[in-house]
């Protein structure tokens, strides 16, 4: 692996770690949509990493399913939970955590 590739991989890994910390709501904005988007970003960067590691098949799957479909699956589920919370007025869980 050439020096440029190594440097790029290192940058990608650091970006993935930061995105993962945002996704588990340790860093940055504590809102759930941001956390979901950060989880999608981890998948997207992982797919670039798979491409660098010479496995384009895995990279395509990761980008389409991990980065695309799973992220929006979480948003669909989040919307359903929100509408359910609105229906149950006595519910006062940690939704504004």
């Amino acid at each position: 692996m050439s020096g440029l590739m190594t440097a790029m991989t290192a940058v990608l890994c650091i970006a993935m770690l930061v995105a993962a910390l945002v996704a588990i709501r340790v860093l940055g904005d504590k809102s759930l949509p941001i956390a979901i988007l950060a989880a999608g970003l981890v998948s997207l960067l992982a797919s670039v990493l798979f491409l660098i590691l010479a496995s384009p098949d895995v990279a395509m799957t990761e980008a389409a399913i991990g980065g695309g479909l799973t992220t929006f699956l979480f948003f669909f589920v989040l919307a359903r939970i929100r509408s359910w919370e609105k229906g149950e007025s006595e519910y006062d869980g940690e939704k504004h955590d």
Binding site: D57, M60, T61, R80, E94
Partner: protein, 237 residues
């Protein structure tokens, strides 16, 4: 922030650090192989002459390990079936208009132009599965992301469940039928050599692999699309 959520967050971080340590030890002990092992060498040497597929990964997935792929497709089928079953209990019979956030002009215009291209790319990926990276699963997922774009630009859009179910069942039955034909005409279940191997690297080559992978692509695309449409249709209970 309450003490309880602090403990929860600390435990999550601890768990992540533990998993990270496990993978770090794996990575540090990793020594790249200098030559292929026995199975890999067999695949690398014999795929071109046996199966006629330029993409060895596809030859392994569709032919050598065809039964595993059938298992994966079955898992996905069960998952989409169960999602549809669970969500169908909450489906509204009367479709009262929802007050949705208006979709931006940018998304509407872009989805009109991009969705056909994305779906075409998905078809390209699974039709060329035996030549270029990718195949049925990747192509199907790309088609489903095209569907997702259409659903995002118009959340009230309804796709025909009959069409999705027909495509899904047809490709599933045809996939199994091709496998059974392999049992009779060639070496075993899901053997791709029921059709001539052709010239290595051409679109119509590698026996039945393009046919089988197209069916898998349609099936995976239909399954993901059915999950997405069920989720979108029952978004508010």
């Amino acid at each position: 922030m309450t003490g309880k959520s602090m403990i929860k967050r600390f435990l999550a971080l601890l768990l992540l650090a533990g998993i990270g340590a496990m993978f770090a030890s794996l990575l540090l002990a990793y020594v790249p192989d200098t030559d292929l092992n026995f199975t890999a060498r067999y695949y690398a040497e014999n795929t071109a002459s046996d199966i006629g597929a330029a993409n060895i990964v596809t030859a392994i997935i569709v032919t050598y390990r065809g039964l595993d792929t059938l298992g994966e497709v079955t898992v996905l089928f069960l998952a989409s079936g169960i999602v549809g079953l669970v969500l169908s209990f909450g489906r509204k019979r009367d479709s009262t208009p929802r007050n949705l956030v208006p979709v931006g002009e940018l998304l509407t215009t872009a989805s009109q132009h991009l969705a056909p291209v994305i779906m075409l790319l998905g078809v390209y990926v699974f039709v060329n599965g035996h030549l270029t990276p990718g195949g049925g699963f990747q192509g199907g997922a790309i088609i489903a992301s095209g569907m997702l774009l259409l659903l995002l630009s118009d959340p009230l859009k309804r796709f025909s469940h009959t069409l999705i179910a027909t495509v899904e069942s047809f490709s599933g039955i045809a996939y199994i039928a091709l496998g059974l034909i392999g049992l009779v005409l060639a070496g075993g279940f899901l053997d791709s050599r029921i059709l001539p191997n052709g010239i290595l690297g051409e679109l119509i080559s590698a026996g039945a692999i393009p046919l089988i992978y197209s069916l898998i692509g349609l099936k995976v695309g239909a399954e993901f699309s059915s999950m997405l449409t069920s989720l979108s249709e029952t978004e508010d209970l």
